[in-house]
C-alpha cells in the first residue's frame, strides 16, 4: 500500500464517463495508454488537482485526494509537462527553469540546477527568451522546469506528440537519460505505442474511460485477448541482459534463460536492454533447421492460438527457460492447419529480426 501510486476516479466530464481504479509502483515510467478520448489526460489532470473528480489519489503514504480532503495543485509536490511546452513568454529560459525551484521547500531539494541543465543539454539556451527556441528545445526546458520544482512524481501529458519526427528523435535520448539518472517516478500519457515500447516499464491500458489492463509492460502487451496484441503491428518487448559482445558485431543477450543473438556493437556485457520482437518477424518450425540465415531459433511452448481475421492467426508463445517470456507470432491459417499446431506443444520460434527498443 505505502509504496504505490493508487488512483481511484469516478465521474462525468461532459458526455464522457470515467471509472477507473488502479495502482502502479512508485518507480520507473508508467504509461497510460489508449485511444484519444479514453480518459488518459483527465486522469493525469486529476492527479495534478487541475480537475476535481470524485475519487481517491494516494502517492505512497501521502493522500492528495479522498472524501474529506482535496490538496490544491500548488501544494502537491509534482511536476507536470504539458503537450505544448507552455513556457512563460515574459521570462528568460533561466527564470522559467527556476520558477518552480524557488517555490519548492528547502528540505525537498534533491534535484540540482546544474545537473538538470547538463542532463537535458540546455546550457547554451539559458539566457535566451523562450520565443526563440525550437520545439524540441522548448519541450526540454519545460521538462527541466518541471523537474526543478523538486517533484516526487512527474506527470507527462503526451510530451512528444506536438513535436515532429526529428525533434522526437532529438529528445528521446534525454528521456532515457532522465530515467537512468533520476529516481522520480513518471506517469506518462501516450497514444503512440512505439513511444510506450521504448520508454515505459509499466503499462495502464485504458478504453472509453475504463481500465482494460495494468501491469509490467511485457505482461500487458502480450496478455491474451488484449486489443493491442491483435494489432497487425504488434511487437513484444522483453527485458534482456547483455552476456558478451563478439568481434563480428553480434551481441549475445539473455532473455529469461534463453540466449538471443543481436546485431549491436555498442553494448557492453552486463548492460540491461530491452528487445523488441514484432509478431510478423517470427515464424514457426517443427524441428530445428540445420542451416539457416536466421540467427535466433528458440524453443517455445504454444500458450494460446487466436484467430486474426479470416486468413491469419496469432500464437502466444513462451520462449523463456527460467521464467515465462511471452512473445507473439503471426502466421497464416494455412500454415496453422498444415503444421497442425496445438496448445501446449513445443515448437521452434524462428525470429527473423530483433531490435533493441531502448538502452537501459
Amino acid at each position: 500500500m505505502g509504496n504505490e501510486i493508487a488512483i481511484t476516479l469516478k465521474g462525468d466530464l461532459g458526455a464522457f464517463h470515467l471509472d477507473v481504479d488502479f495502482a502502479v509502483p512508485m518507480h520507473g515510467i508508467t504509461a497510460l495508454f489508449g485511444p484519444s478520448g479514453c480518459g488518459k489526460t483527465s486522469i493525469l489532470r486529476s492527479v495534478a488537482g487541475l480537475n476535481h473528480m470524485a475519487g481517491r489519489i494516494a502517492i505512497g503514504s501521502h493522500i492528495w485526494q479522498d472524501q474529506e480532503r482535496f490538496v490544491p495543485t500548488h501544494k502537491r509536490p509534482l511536476g507536470y509537462v504539458f503537450q505544448e511546452a507552455s513556457l512563460f513568454p515574459h521570462l528568460s529560459v533561466r527564470q522559467n527553469l527556476i520558477y518552480g525551484e524557488k517555490r519548492a521547500k528547502k528540505a525537498e531539494k534533491h534535484i540540482r540546477f546544474d545537473d538538470i541543465v547538463d542532463l537535458l543539454g540546455i546550457g547554451h539556451l539559458i539566457d535566451r527568451s523562450p520565443m526563440h527556441l525550437s520545439g524540441g528545445e522548448r519541450q526540454r526546458v519545460s521538462i527541466g522546469r518541471a523537474l526543478l520544482s523538486q517533484p516526487q512524481l512527474l506527470l507527462m501529458d503526451e510530451p512528444l506528440s506536438a513535436l515532429d519526427r526529428m525533434a522526437k528523435d532529438e529528445i528521446l535520448p534525454y528521456f532515457e537519460a532522465l530515467h537512468a539518472n533520476l529516481k522520480v517516478p513518471i506517469l506518462l500519457v501516450s497514444h503512440d505505442i512505439s513511444e510506450v515500447e521504448r520508454l515505459a516499464d509499466h503499462l495502464v491500458l485504458l478504453k472509453d474511460g475504463r481500465l482494460v489492463n495494468s501491469g509490467p509492460l511485457s505482461d500487458v502487451l502480450s496478455a491474451p485477448d488484449s486489443t493491442l496484441a491483435m494489432r497487425r503491428d504488434f511487437a513484444a518487448v522483453l527485458p534482456a541482459q547483455v552476456l558478451r559482445t563478439d568481434e563480428d558485431g553480434i551481441s549475445a543477450l539473455d532473455v529469461a534463460g534463453s540466449e538471443f543473438l543481436v546485431l549491436a556493437d555498442t553494448l557492453r556485457p552486463g548492460d540491461a536492454v530491452r528487445l523488441r520482437i514484432a509478431a510478423s518477424d517470427i515464424s514457426i518450425a517443427r524441428g530445428k533447421h540445420a542451416s539457416s540465415s536466421i540467427l535466433n531459433s528458440i524453443p517455445a511452448r504454444i500458450l494460446g492460438i487466436e484467430t486474426l481475421g479470416a486468413t491469419e492467426a496469432s500464437l502466444r508463445l513462451d520462449i523463456g527457460k527460467n521464467h515465462p517470456a511471452i512473445v507473439r507470432a503471426r502466421i497464416s491459417q494455412r500454415s496453422l492447419a498444415a503444421l497442425n499446431l496445438q496448445i501446449d506443444e513445443m515448437v521452434i520460434a524462428q525470429i527473423k529480426s530483433v531490435s533493441l527498443a531502448a538502452n537501459r
Partner: protein, 202 residues
C-alpha cells in the same frame, strides 16, 4: 484601475450565470447618454441616496457638487473603458500558463502577480489610457453632478465650453490646443511603451 482589475478578472474566469449581467452593467455607460447616467449618479450621491449615508464620514452632507462626487462619477463612467481591455487581456492569456504555474507550486495570489499581471500588461496600458483620456474628456456627467463650481468642480472640458459660450475665443483656443497636444502625447507614449514590451496596446 484598482476597482476595474478584480471585476475584469472575475469576468474573464467566472462561470457564474450572473457574469453576463454584470458585464452588461459595466458596459451600460457606453450606450446611455451621459446625462442619464449623470442624473442617476446625482440622485445616488445626493443627501437622500448613498451620499447621505456616507457623506457624514467625510464631514459632508452630500457628495453631489463636490470633488469626491466627481471622482466617483468618473470612475463609474469610465469603467467599461478600463474593464474591457483588461478582461480581454486576461482571456487572451488563457488558463494554461496559470495551470503551469500552479503545478510549479505557485499559490493563486502568486500566480496572479507573477504570471497574469505581467502577461496582461498591454491590456492594462490600454485600459489606463482609455480610462484616463475618457475621464479628461468627459462633459455630460460632470455637468450633471459637478455643478461647475470654480476651484472645486470646474473641469477643463466645461471651462472650454464656458469660454466659447461667453465668446472668449482666445482662452478657448489655448485650452483646446493644450488638450489636443496632451491627448496626443499620452497616447503616443503608451504606444511606444507597449511596443517596447513586445506587444501593441491598440
Amino acid at each position: 484601475m484598482i476597482i476595474g482589475t478584480p471585476i475584469a478578472w472575475w469576468l474573464a474566469w467566472s462561470k457564474s450565470r450572473w457574469k453576463e449581467v454584470v458585464a452588461t452593467l459595466v458596459a451600460l455607460p457606453l450606450v446611455l447618454p451621459p446625462t442619464v447616467l449623470g442624473f442617476y449618479i446625482l440622485l445616488a450621491l445626493g443627501p437622500n441616496g448613498l451620499g447621505g449615508w456616507f457623506g457624514p464620514w467625510f464631514g459632508l452632507r452630500t457628495f453631489a457638487f463636490t470633488f469626491e462626487g466627481l471622482v466617483a462619477g468618473s470612475v463609474l463612467y469610465s469603467m467599461p473603458f478600463v474593464v474591457q481591455p483588461i478582461r480581454n487581456a486576461f482571456e487572451a492569456i488563457g488558463a494554461r500558463p496559470l495551470e503551469v504555474a500552479a503545478t510549479l507550486r505557485a499559490s493563486p495570489l502568486d500566480r496572479f502577480f507573477t504570471i497574469a499581471l505581467p502577461l496582461a500588461i498591454p491590456g492594462f496600458l490600454t485600459g489606463a489610457v482609455l480610462g484616463f483620456a475618457h475621464t479628461v474628456g468627459e462633459f455630460g456627467v460632470i455637468l450633471m453632478i459637478g455643478g461647475n463650481i470654480p476651484g472645486e468642480t470646474k473641469v477643463l472640458s466645461i471651462a472650454i465650453y464656458d469660454f466659447v459660450e461667453t465668446l472668449r475665443w482666445r482662452e478657448a483656443h489655448i485650452l483646446s490646443a493644450g488638450m489636443l497636444v496632451f491627448a496626443f502625447l499620452v497616447i503616443l507614449t503608451v504606444s511606444l511603451l507597449a511596443r517596447r514590451s513586445g506587444r501593441r496596446a491598440f
